[in-house]
Subunit: 242 residues, 2 copies
Amino acid sequence: MLEQVRIVLVGTTHPGNVGAAARAMKNMGLADLVLVAPKAGVFPSEEAAARASGADDVLARARVCASLDEAVADCRLVVGASARLRSIPWPVWTPREAAPRLLAEAARGPVAVVFGRERSGLTNRELERCNALLHIPANPAYPSLNLAQAVQVTAYELRMAAQGTPPAEALPEAATAAEVEAFFAHLERALVAIGYLNPAAPKQLMRRLRRLFLRVRLEHDEVSLLRGILTAAERLAPRREP
Amino acid sequence: MLEQVRIVLVGTTHPGNVGAAARAMKNMGLADLVLVAPKAGVFPSEEAAARASGADDVLARARVCASLDEAVADCRLVVGASARLRSIPWPVWTPREAAPRLLAEAARGPVAVVFGRERSGLTNRELERCNALLHIPANPAYPSLNLAQAVQVTAYELRMAAQGTPPAEALPEAATAAEVEAFFAHLERALVAIGYLNPAAPKQLMRRLRRLFLRVRLEHDEVSLLRGILTAAERLAPRREP
């Protein structure tokens, strides 16, 4: 579905931003880039290619259109980025709200996210071509993201939404409760043997150690390692009469 | 809380990335930037200032450190970015998973997110200084984000979490990175003293113990407790000639 999401850059003036946007798109699995009336020399350009790094395939496929209408003509959902919250009474979505809606529609055909000029963004007229506005939450004192950074955040949210909840990482084998309890018994014996724990009053100390080692969720191999250390310490302790 | 989240850039080679990272930070409300051993000419530099755009206050406050240890010494939670999923079995968090954890701890003092070199990232040794790894979900065929873009995505998730997360439950005071490193040094000495660790080949064993005790995120009082046990064990060990 990610390949059905088009990124449209309107009136871009810095070639580096085109390249960086292409890289951000490819990093997140997007591939469809359209430039509307870029400033002369912006695309194609050496600087765009340099900043794209390994994403030159995205640049090679990119198309240039004369108008926003042309760029989004086949799209069923068009969202326009706006750093300022305009007076126009359009629905405003964060990237997190927009991503699942874009993907749901992308199952049926192309959709677009439109980003405006570096200095001035999209005009009200352009925003009024959109189904909804995209607003990236930001520091109110300094809300305007670099163009490629805004593309990055949006593409990241699209990928997160496409992945759904990531599968839990494969973890090493946890110790069983019985193994952990046997470790605690061994720990208590060893602490008595080395003279750190008073067997007449073990309660608080062992409780604190239990809290630590239960919190970490010991692995099978870690129990063996820790018990090896305890055995080495016990060997040094003076023999006591039982 | 966002101002307690430190962004640490290790070995940065492109001045533009420092400036773009500062802008991304300020856009999201972050302010604490530390550079560890940047390449000569990277900072301060005209290119960094130009790319920072209006975020020159973040650059003006940025500090340069000689080592990662120095940069994170006062931090209670340190997360290291890794594009590749390394063989080292550390916990791996997405930015969305890491953000609320960082903010919960930031309520009480500095925390850090560490980003590595543009070409090679963080070394395994540097990652082993961290409590957890940060992995930005990405296209497996092209997973490596530009440095400033990785900072942007992370800072965005921090802002989203700051806006949405209720205040964290009161947690006991975590140990600082410097306290934890001092514990590891003490642990290694004690293991040598009791004859468990061969000082000629300490690597794997200490790495496994680091992984365990960094994963649990030791509290200040727990470090004292564990070091008390180590001191008791050392007292029993036969004196060795230095």
